[in-house]
Amino acid sequence: MSTTLHGAPFGTGPSGEPVLHGRRCLTCGHASFPRQPYGCEACGAAGPGDPLDLPAAGTVRAAATVHRHPDPRVAVPFTLVSVRLDGGPLVRGVHAGTAAAGDRVRARLEGEGDRTALRFESERR
């Protein structure tokens, strides 16, 4: 049983660990992130598919630290990462520190309620 946080595309799994809410197509089996009710991008089958909670762990494919942002509400610097999830899909997320391609990362949840954010953290290199 997993918990969803305020419509966010992530939540917590049975042991309280962060999970990413994905979907699996009932027709072609394609696993994707995020969960959405509209249809499968691989085969076009309509509907939401099966809910699929993906472990929030994977390997960094690319990383970039953003130093300037047009929206003053967004604090800089921060680091974005492209992560190949162990469950298949490639996702983009915010890293809690700095990262480099090849890092093994795992997500943690920060904050509470509708301010909960998901941040990737690198395992010790």
Binding site: P34, A62, A64, T65, V66, R68, S82, L90, R92, V94
Partner: protein, 385 residues
Amino acid sequence: MTASPMTASPKTLADLRPVYVAGIGLHPYQRPSDTPYVRLGLTAVRAALSDAGLRWTDVESAWTGTTSLGMAVSRGMLRHLGATGIRMTQVENASASGSSAFRQACLKVACGLAEVSLALGVDKPLRGGPARTGVPDLVGRHGIPAAHFALLADAYAREHGATREQVAAVAVKNHRNGARNPFAQRRRERSLREVLDEPPIAGTLTRLQCCPIGEGAAAALVVSGDAVERLGLDASRCVRVAASVQRSERLDDTDAELTRVTAAEALDQAGIAPAGLDVVELHDAFAIEELEYAEALGLCGKGEAAALAAAGAFDIGGRCAVSPSGGLLAMGHPIGPTGVGQIAEITRQLRGEAGDRQHPGAAAGLAHMVGLGAVCAVHVLRRPV
């Protein structure tokens, strides 16, 4: 690769009657100002009419590429050329809006539904942004375009061993070209040191490796061969549009892969090998993109563009002049006009009218844009014979 239903479509531009760019016009790209969009657009259209030797009453349809101005952009502007009853339509395709407007004008004339059609791009960065799909992601407001391309730059540098200096060399070249373009938003030459010493925006990309978003307008008049004769146009200044292809991404396509597939189709349609291209205008919104797309277009092998760019292969006078206008990095990226402005630059180059930006012997050119979504438009143009 198996053919998709898109590539299996029965006819291409090459199967229809020939179409030509007979006139080009621009309003300089510039920082956002109080200038009304009507002034920007009319300046470009009047310049294009004058360049072609056409009257407004000769123009039968107009396609306006625009993203941020609101509804019914064409009417409020074009009425001041005389309300002729012209067919007018707005075209929105993110950064590729102008390219798509140009494609529509080409198809309209090629099909025989018009003899003279206007492709216009006009924009001011007022509002807009992508439509909200309601499908969430993990980055939210953190996910800006510069970050997207900084991630690509990181992956490219790792995969191919490209250095910061090699990527920055693209910006040095494009600012050098922009400094010679009276329509460019950025008109200052920059040294490698200047480009690298700017504070980074994202990853290794500094400010001068990211395009400025401003305002401006660009126009191109597309005509049939019949119109060239009937209206007494100067055929030696009419540039043939040899290919027009537009696609969108397939599952897991990157912008570079989408570019590769679209450009291959366009070059095949035009009957030109990549090595036969003399001038290329591409979507260099961020310096790293020029390297990725140069490879995707087939100008060089995978992983070779960084060293070639740094060695001058893509300079004016090099093996292929890439972004001779200054590209998005220096000429600027006002969004709606950008794709039409590329056509204007290539037309100028193929006519041999590019002045101190002229690439010697330019006979074939290619224009490439990608737009969010992602869509890709590629046009191939040939020198008048």
